[in-house]
Symmetry: C2
Subunit: 514 residues, 2 copies
């Protein structure tokens, strides 16, 4: 067993690290309290330059980079375009000029009723900004389902692989923090359709709802043999991804845990234990689940894996670091590297780990090596936007199409009443990101439904409207100032198609709860 | 098949019916809009006087009457006692006199800190009233679990009976209306521990949560063979109980359906259909449930049963009326009466009904005959409190111990956000009942948990506090005026014991949601 050590916390400071300025001029917001301060860079097993790792998937890295740049570029040019349009607002032929500029730069026209009112006092830039964010989101969403930038909707090879590893379902709760929004598709390189994702602030997932989800999964195995027969010896795997910052650990860690990595890991593990005990104590006959605790360094995207032993024990003080594995194997041939990785996992568990778990964790490490190189290739080894830089908040049930870092602060919830803490964190983040610049917080609300169930769309629509009313009611002051806008969407989870837009607070004011 | 007919709506008015005045002087509040107006009494197949039905359980009726009178008496003397105490408040030795009076009349002392402040301005009667209601509720609750006034916690004979009828679980959603709070234990005479009760305004239960509950039930059969093996051919029976008033149908019916019986029945049936379709379309392999639509006359407690055919079809326009069955069998010997009842059920279904369902419905009718006689024996054939006369609102998950008519407006909900409509109905009722008299609305919040699951009590406590905050936030004005008070309780559903009281808004103000 490895003793506890943290390669990121070495005694002496080295030369200050310079981060490239953000191209869009947006501030990078820290862990809710601090500006983005350059901090000493610790000794690093993975140099920012040099050859890529032999296991890195270069082609995939390039695809992922292209998709990320394309989508974020769409959001990030909005402010510049609106500034240029603002400068034109009292000119002759303003509306035509503004539309031509928007079409050319953004790819879509602006709502005429907002432009047409500009001459009375001035252009309503807040509404226009929210409108552009929502329009860009809608286009991004639609393109996701039609162009499959991250691959298609099913990955039977991967599904077969995890079953061979001993699992019939992967249920992952990352933190709601936007810097983990890409955790599944980028950091872990898992096919998004094969993973059940449930983000919560601090990764503090809802135990009772997860038990309900477990019951549903197991019942389908009993009743329908889907995804496999109930008698097959596989488990429901529940993973938590907490996060930390290797470069600025005290400011850029998890806000929900006060940038305290240790607390983030322990809290995640406690929640996992609660879930397992709830399953075991609620059902007899060997009912159980497998747990996995992961940490993500939001600067480098390198993961930590708290490798469990065969008896399911996880040590929050002990982990296998992907950067260390990277450094150890970078000079090897691919097959040799894979062997070393597997051996490291076995060693880390103290030798008593199931071989399926070894395969699964080894695959995560290999996948993460590509992502470490992704950050080296395109971000000089650590992201320029070290802090929050989300473009919108996502609230509700769904968001299958959201997989980009710092695109979305995503709080999974059925009601604002239960998810209020998570949503408060998101609003605080956007006070720093948007409201400080006079721009509104764009909140996309989503409620997925299953069209195979009659009436479920109508119930999802009502849930969506209920959540919108609760959001506007909770942040009444912002809402009345035009500093919070909501887009209401529902999506049919039985079909692989884009969400349906129901409307937004830009069209008609949402009725507040009193 | 019977053609549609309503014995309660005959052409000519008869002599006006007089209702006895309420003993406690409380107003009887109608269906939110109208005062309690004496209406013409329709021709009645069950006379208010005369011998009891041979199938009536006289002994049980007397027990139920004693329990009902005892509990309601405890609540209903509060106002009179407080009036007498109020008259003493500026006398010498007020506190001692008040405590002596309270102990003698109510059986418990009053909170000293409220009495001690009386001399400064005047006695805080609103707080004192809420405190007495909560204290009486606590004592009633505790006594329920220690004295078993309605029988013990298990009824294995009944459980075996319903399985022989073809059902492994009874899940009943009555309306949240307090005039149905006794539906299970009194009107239907079912053992409360054998029935899952989920009241909603208008009986409009939550389809998705009921599906989740169905999955859990079925999964336990698959995994543990509890309550029976999954391969046994029994069904989950979901029943809805809507309600109507035979004596004042346009004013004293269901508020959620505008006192429109027809709409109440159709809406209930639609919700049942939605539930069955959700189960059938979400799971393959013959997954289904059995549905049963019942109506309750809140004046006489007589039920209507919409007898389903063997293929599961239910006609909202067609029912078997317990009062008609009563009238047809009142002069027969018990066994002959039972035979006629069974035959009526078979006829009503058109002959194609499963024999288990015939047995079950026949039993409900026989049980209800006792209740019809209960109302004849003790309420002159129809209740004096025809309208709302609830003593408190119950909100949350649980309330196993509440089984008395017009004691509690009970809204089953996990969040106020989702249950807001139901709660609004309750608050409107109590505006008529209490606030119109200057008295606060007492709201008891309950969240049941399972101590077998570690952490579940702590989560229930947080849920209870969250609901309390949401209640005070939603009715902010009432709350600030001292016209709404909450008692917070949790209960361990794994043990047969009273709820645990966490505190109340009388001790410390609950933090409002902003």
């Amino acid at each position: 067993m490895l003793a506890r050590r943290d390669p990121y916390q070495l005694p002496g400071p080295t030369a200050p690290r310079r981060r490239p300025p953000r191209r869009d001029g947006r501030p990078s917001v820290g862990a809710l309290t601090s500006p983005d301060i350059s901090t000493p860079r610790p000794e690093d097993p993975v140099a920012a330059t040099g050859p890529l790792h032999p296991l890195t998937n270069r082609e995939r890295n390039q695809q992922l980079r292209t998709y990320d740049s394309h989508v974020k570029g769409g959001f990030d040019k909005i402010v510049d375009v609106l500034k240029r349009i603002s400068a034109l607002q009292h000119e002759q032929g303003f509306e035509q000029k503004a539309q031509a500029l928007a079409l050319d730069a953004l790819g879509f026209p602006l709502p005429e009723h907002i432009l047409a009112r500009a001459w009375v006092t001035q252009l309503d830039m807040r509404s226009l900004f929210a409108w552009c964010v929502f329009e860009t989101y809608k286009r991004t969403s639609a393109a996701f389902f039609t162009s499959n930038p991250l691959g298609g909707q099913e990955d039977t090879a991967f599904d077969a692989f995890i079953r061979e590893c001993g699992f019939h379902l992967l249920d992952v709760s990352p933190c709601a923090d936007g810097r983990l929004a890409h955790a599944i598709s980028y950091a872990l390189r898992l096919p998004f359709s094969s993973v059940r994702r449930r983000p919560y602030a601090g990764a503090m997932f809802d135990v009772e709802r997860t038990v309900a989800r477990w019951i549903k999964t197991e019942h389908r195995r009993h009743r329908e043999g889907v995804p496999n027969q109930a008698h097959e010896d596989t488990r429901y795997l529940k993973a938590v991804i907490y996060h930390f910052s290797s470069l600025d650990p005290r400011h850029q860690g998890c806000a929900a845990h006060g940038s305290n990595d240790d607390q983030a890991a322990r809290s995640g593990l406690n929640r996992l234990h609660d879930f397992r005990q709830a399953v075991e104590n609620s059902f007899c006959c060997g009912a159980s689940v497998t747990l996995l605790l992961l940490g993500l360094d939001t600067d480098t995207d390198a993961i930590r894996i708290h490798v469990p032993t065969a008896d399911g024990a996880t040590n929050p003080d002990h982990w296998l670091d992907a950067r260390e594995v990277y450094g150890q194997t970078v000079a090897m041939a691919p097959e040799a590297a894979r062997e070393v990785i597997g051996e490291r996992v076995r060693q880390d568990a103290g030798g008593s780990i199931e071989e399926g778990m070894v395969r699964f964790i080894s695959q995560l490490l290999e996948n993460n090596i590509s992502q470490i190189d992704f950050v080296r290739q395109f971000h000089n080894g650590a992201y320029g936007d070290a802090g929050h830089a989300e473009r919108f908040i996502g609230v509700g049930i769904g968001f299958k199409e959201i997989h980009l870092r710092n695109l979305t602060y995503f709080a999974h919830m059925e009601t604002v009443e239960e998810g209020a803490t998570d949503l408060d964190v998101g609003i605080r983040i956007f006070k720093g990101l948007n409201i400080s610049r006079g721009l509104p917080v764009p909140v996309v609300i989503r409620y997925d439904f299953h069209s195979s169930v009659p009436g479920s769309r109508e119930r999802a629509v009502r849930s969506c409207e209920r959540i919108a009313a609760a959001v506007h009611g909770r942040y009444r002051t912002l809402s009345r100032q035009g500093l919070l806008h909501t887009l209401l969407t529902v999506r049919d989870g039985d079909h692989y198609k884009p969400p349906e837009v129901l409307g937004s607070s830009l069209q008609s004011p949402v009725v507040e709860v009193h």
